[in-house]
Symmetry: C2
Subunit: 427 residues, 2 copies
């Protein structure tokens, strides 16, 4: 697989972040000439360092999938407005492509930008990131099932372009979904090392969509809870446990082909090099979790809290031994533990690339934090997610979580030079 | 004024952040031995650099006021639960002091922490920041008017300890306050360079309060919109303009004494070295703002968008010349502009120390971002804020903002060795 445009950092630009994001391959030279130790890199200010980090926008695959997971997320799902036509949608995708490519380079949405246009007109760009750089911004585009179905699908002439796999996700055990924060015709996953940069991108892309599409729901996330490169340390989720230890990594070429990227000979052809994006907004009843004993917490996860090692022994990256039995005759990794039920061994070997974020949306009237995990996974076939999620119905963790939002989007293949996103959908 | 404990970085620890936060005085050596250029510092990963930044918890004043403004905020206002006694409150303040001091050092809330306690008990610390450092965490404590008044004030025996200046803020012109996100008996302002660290602090301090106090409202903020040191660049708010150019800076010793710190001979004595904290949740109708011409935006602010220079000419830090008149005979800085009405010249010379943050709380059902400014100011007397806010009633900016939350808290003086926060309130 070509590494071009798969979200790898531009080779001449340093890759800075806070939690050892850096692989030696991605490390360039600091503008100021300071030396950098791989895995202990420096982030800098006022246009240097982190601000200057950019990822390629164009390539064989969209950015924001295997790209080293950035620290901040602003995700938005959009619905087309009533009466929007096929031509409106095409124009929007063209404008989004042009604007997103500029933003990805750390530029304002147009050449006029925030301050270069006519004084008597509203500026093209809202300007709040004028002094910041790209901060590793990626914009990933997706199409929801509803774009292809019903009256909308007919109006857009897309009824026969729907991938067979692109259906509304089924209702899973314990789902308590809220309609207004589920599904959507289109989506933008925006990730960056700076929250201001991510918010600016969603704000300006939403502004461009005015008259054609509007935000259906959106989600701010912080503190990646997954790694996609081996030089990124494994982060912790709000349960305090390391998350995503067994994620598909950006250097696992074979696993990416098998589990993440839609192959080039796929049907429909416009999905070649694409992937399917699942989002699940998972509320955590963290106050209840915090009253659970350390022992019970570890048994629920199937890992120890300190190191993230499986309860069968070893270190964080030791493969769990599900056959290992303790002195009491019980498996050391309980049958209803999260690691056992989510493990490929329990799911016909299936894997996904996860890219989830923590969120805190304020508090509820009881004074509890409205907090949780905004789960994001990418897979070649949505069935991978469906199978694994079904397997989790026996998971004891379900006592402490509540799935309230759910969505599936088809992420078309990479945008090559001269192309706009989703172009082949309209061929 | 002594600089001890006023939030200055510990001299042996480097001061890293993304937007040139660093003054040369605060720069130490990177653990890895890399050189650091002041104002272009490096932030590092896995426990180094930014993670290791700490501010002194104890001193003549509380931290989190003149401390260089961190990038992330988690603010929470608390109400005492029904039946909470004076002894309960004292115990809470003692426990909060001990836990906050540890968190400020990058330690878990107790020595047992997240993984060192008994296996069969819930861990003392929730553990999600086990692998992170302090990231410049500060915790600032405040007491609301309601703690001293009514039945609660009598039950706590605090009726006669209320500072005369500590009253509920008046209703200002255009206020559209929502009760559940205004006021509160207690508050914690938590700031850090990492959102995970800030959230972890509020979560664990809230957990400690269980049975005595509960969150009334809370707010996550990102991207500081003020600077308190001259080496910090002036950031932009969500209107795209530089904000806080004329802030009281941490090196303005006289101005701090005059406008921020309550003097040592103050009444009541427990407020000596303290300050008053105002919060205002200000929604911005950014979609409307974004449709305003650049010319009109600049006239509303009274500054140019690119540089932040006053419309009377010069650069960002040039003093506005309010007498300057254009060819049309009109003042270059309009009479109803924000910079004119908020300027000390229009407010009997009064100033405040501002420490506000951007927020985005998702979107409303119209697809507009629920975004704005979480305004925070510190002043020696709440009247400073009241006067300036009253002056702003003629501000054209009011067309694009909506104040929905409001609170005032008395921030007691610094916590010296062996003391706990607010101790002298109970003498």
């Amino acid at each position: 697989m070509s590494q071009q445009g798969t979200g790898r950092p531009s080779p001449t630009i340093g890759r800075w972040s806070r939690r050892g994001v850096l692989g030696a391959a991605g490390v360039g030279a600091l503008g100021a000439g300071a030396g950098v130790v791989a895995g202990r890199a420096g982030a800098s200010a006022d246009g240097g360092g982190a601000g200057e980090l950019t990822y390629a926008f164009r390539g064989a695959h969209q950015a924001g999938v295997v790209t080293p997971v950035q620290e901040h997320l602003h995700f938005a799902a959009y619905d087309l407005v009533e009466g929007a036509t096929r031509e409106d949608l095409i124009a929007l995708l063209q404008e989004w492509t042009a604007a997103a490519e500029r933003l990805t380079r750390g530029q304002p949405v147009t050449e006029d930008g925030a301050v270069g246009g006519p004084l008597l007109a509203p500026p093209d760009d809202t300007g709040e990131t004028l002094d910041l750089g790209a901060h590793g911004l990626t914009v990933t585009f997706g199409f929801g099932p509803s774009l292809f179905t019903g009256e909308l699908g007919r109006r857009l002439g897309l009824t026969d372009r729907r991938p067979a796999a692109l259906n509304r996700l089924p209702l899973f055990a314990f789902d308590l979904l809220e309609e207004p924060i589920s599904d959507g015709d289109l989506c933008l996953q925006v990730c960056a090392e700076d929250p201001h940069v991510a918010v600016h991108a969603i704000r300006n892309l939403t502004r461009i969509a005015f008259g054609t599409a509007m935000i259906r729901w959106s989600q701010i996330g912080f503190g990646r809870t997954a790694a996609t490169t081996r030089s990124q340390s494994t982060p912790r989720n709000l349960f305090g446990f390391k998350d995503g230890t067994a994620n598909v990594m950006s250097d696992e070429t074979e696993a990416l082909e098998r589990w993440v990227w839609v192959p080039d000979d796929a049907e429909p052809a416009w999905m070649a090099g694409g992937t399917y994006l699942v989002t699940r907004k998972i509320m955590m009843t963290i106050e209840n979790w915090d009253r659970v004993s350390l022992d019970e917490q570890q048994k629920i996860m199937g890992r120890d809290k300190k190191e993230g090692a499986p309860l069968s022994g070893g270190g964080e990256f030791t493969e769990p031994d599900f056959t290992h039995v303790g002195a009491d005759g019980e498996p050391l990794i309980p049958l209803d533990s999260h690691v056992r039920l989510s493990h490929p061994d329990a799911n016909k070997g299936q894997r996904m690339l996860r890219r989830s974020y923590n969120f805190v949306d304020g508090n509820n009237p009881l004074g509890q934090l409205s907090a949780g995990l905004f789960f994001i996974s990418f897979q070649r076939d949505p069935q991978q997610f469906i199978d694994i999620q079904n397997s989790l119905k026996a998971d004891t963790l379900n006592e402490y979580i509540r799935h309230v939002g759910s969505a599936l989007f088809a992420v078309p293949g990479g945008i090559r030079p001269g192309e706009w996103v989703g172009q082949f959908l309209f061929d």
